[in-house]
Symmetry: C2
Subunit: 434 residues, 2 copies
């Protein structure tokens, strides 16, 4: 069969990993496909200092992405620059020219993925985005093909490696969040501006993409309830462990009687679950299907090579489809068609909750808190207090029986008015049904 020619725009981390794999495994790729993937054009904002593998020496190298997209031989464009600006222009231009796109762009796919798929289909092209979520884990392929015959009821993902690294370091060493973050920044595991990671926005984009794939709905990332990990302290792990749980930043999507509930937030999960074994900078997704029951997928969330594998695997699939007639005639998002999966507010969620307090110690505290809970019809489950000498900021925990997020948020707002409260109550859901 005739070779398939590709162009790569963006030679940063992901682009360099992609080039390395394409250069080193080109024979093996040809054996698997029956034809070669040939890199015809490469584009970076600046070419100086870029290492182009010798095997790709014949490729045009340019700083103008239009030369890649408009290259007459290029059939697939790999967009590996990210963001919603130029990346969108590149993808629009490629699709308009009937060229297929492979992308690692989570922000753009979260915001416009389903729409771009429709554009691609209209132009007889394909757009593949395995690398946009959980780099090393082929979770798109799994949802789109591997378990496409199932009806997904829920999934829980750990989709931000930096947050998971920070949480598991706090858990292991008992170091405070700020100190772990500083160390992670020093080691290059966290960005100078850590907001996207520790405040949950990166994870939110990924959740939006996976939820759209799993539930076939238009998901608006900005509507997803999102809470980061800044308030998690070593003492929370001590209490969580006492309860047989640990804490992870969970991207949750659950089909309930009320509708689809989506959230990114730290949650207690049982220590005995396989999701609790995910440590360090790893990503994982736990899926519950109506028929296939629970499956679990785990691997590196980022890195030039793991994400490069996702890009190359997508290039191979799209190339195979180009050479044999594309089966890409229906959006893998199938949105607007599965009305039952309508997203609803997280306030409708029913869960047990973990409430952690720092208070000025004095008599009557439990009575005050219990009366607020009682007024909201929330049943108190347990009160835990580990030894502490700090009477000015005494930590303790109350767990409550399953109730609505709405009630918990109302109770927490009431509690904020109490004069013995040193800082706002931390309320975390307990995902005991995993």
């Amino acid at each position: 069969m005739r070779d398939v020619n590709i162009g790569i725009v963006g030679l940063g981390n992901v682009g360099s990993g992609t080039m390395a794999i394409l250069a080193e495994t080109s024979d093996s790729i040809a054996q698997k496909l029956g034809f070669r993937l040939v890199v015809k054009a490469l584009c970076a904002r600046t070419i100086v200092g870029k290492q182009i593998p010798a095997a790709l020496a014949d490729a045009l190298v340019t700083t103008d992405w239009r030369e890649v997209v408009n290259h007459p031989d290029v059939e697939i464009v790999a967009e590996l620059i990210g963001g919603q600006g130029v990346a969108k222009e590149i993808i629009d231009a490629a699709l308009a020219a009937g060229k297929s796109v492979v992308t690692a762009n989570k922000e753009l796919m979260a915001a416009q993925g389903p729409a771009l798929v429709e554009v691609a289909i209209a132009h007889g092209a394909n757009i593949a985005m395995e690398a946009s979520v959980a780099g090393g884990i082929p979770v798109h392929t799994v949802l789109r093909e591997g378990i496409s015959g199932d009806r997904i009821e829920a999934f829980y993902g750990i989709l931000n490696g930096t947050s998971n690294y920070i949480l598991t370091e706090i858990e292991r060493d008992g170091t405070a969040f700020a100190d772990v973050l500083a160390e992670a920044q020093r080691l290059g595991y966290a960005e100078a501006d850590p907001t996207a990671d520790v405040d949950g926005f990166d994870a939110r984009s990924k959740l939006a993409i996976l939820a759209a794939l799993a539930f076939g709905e238009k998901i608006t990332a900005a509507d997803i309830f999102t809470e980061g990990i800044r308030r998690i302290s070593p003492i929370d792990f001590q209490y969580a462990h006492r309860l047989g749980h640990t804490i992870r930043l969970i991207c949750g999507a659950r089909l309930t009687a009320e509708g689809l509930i989506l959230s990114v937030r730290p949650a207690l999960i049982p220590e005995s679950t396989i999701l609790a074994s995910v440590k360090g900078a790893y990503n994982a997704v736990w899926v519950r299907g109506k028929y296939g029951a629970d499956t679990f997928y785990y691997g590196r969330g980022a890195g030039p090579h793991p994400t490069g594998v996702a890009v190359v695997s997508d290039l191979m699939r799209v190339a195979r489809e180009i050479r044999s007639g594309s089966p890409h005639r229906v959006s893998p998002f199938a949105h607007d068609r599965l009305e039952a999966n309508r997203p609803v507010s997280v306030l409708k969620q029913k869960r047990a909750y973990y409430l952690r307090f720092f208070v000025k110690d004095r008599p009557g505290i439990i009575a005050s808190l219990a009366s607020i809970l009682s007024a909201k019809n929330i049943s108190l489950d347990a009160v835990l207090q580990l030894p502490s000498d700090d009477k000015t900021a005494l930590p303790f925990v109350i767990t409550v029986e399953p109730t609505s997020e709405q009630s918990v948020q109302e109770a927490v707002a009431e509690m904020a008015k109490l004069d013995f409260m040193v800082e706002p109550v931390l309320a975390l859901p307990m995902e005991t049904a995993l």
Copy 2:
């Protein structure tokens, strides 16, 4: 697009799960595909007592598989009877007629999968076999598509749910193998004849299929070193835990400097690894790629519904390819092409080993064993002895530093001649590199 018509042969466990999913989710499948999957014909050895879902009431129901395969409307045949006899006739007939096949048949695919794929390609048809290994886990899709851009260096699978159930029951309760097996048989978790499960043959078929997919080689199941779990006793878990390990029946495939080493055998794996968290009747596969590093896949290994999801997902993929031109022109096994992956004897494997003894207690035992190890150039790592009152069958363990399987087997053969040995030495590799 025009509907795709299918026929199902075999209405046992997997067939009934498949029918249920097709019947209950037909609208959702149509939304995902853009056309309907229509069940035109069903075949079982005996029809009496079979529950056919109302939604499939229009299908022809027959006891003659030829009526399904030769049905003019049927485009895909699902072969769900298993075994290498009639199943082979059905698949041959379907492929010869240019009809695609979806199968759950591990024995036949292990023995002839790559050859049958070539036949399918020659006839312009497809043959899909996701359901043949680890029912609920889409590991075929992952290897064939999801991480096809990686170069796989090793994988370790837990692929027999019955064995894993038995091992983790021994681990949890300290009950002897024979008692756990009897209880498992009583509960229906193990067959009356448990050989295929507890002696490793079922796992061996699955390893042969996955290794062929991962390494693109002709794998002959009968050549795979295979050892079952009958000799694992509660005391082995006590010693393994003392060493920070647990024991699982591991299907291993590792690319080494000597070649591809394949084995099915009980092995010690570190308790801290994610593979060690696989308990009960679950399956899992841990993969190490040169580029993507480690990924891990987990789910139900069997059951009508999880395996039915695999069959239905395959039916959807094959139907999509039929309606849009099949990309199935190169075998996913790509065998005979990747010569470097040639299988070699397990005797070449280098590992640390766990050696467990039952001896008649008397002085000089360690000296005798150490001198045999020394003569084979094997370095002793540690000697462990937990308290025991039985001086006529005293258990203890020696661990040795990494050495070849060849040397260990020779040493074990020498040790068998010692008159204080109550039963043959149990030698298990320690997979510490996971």
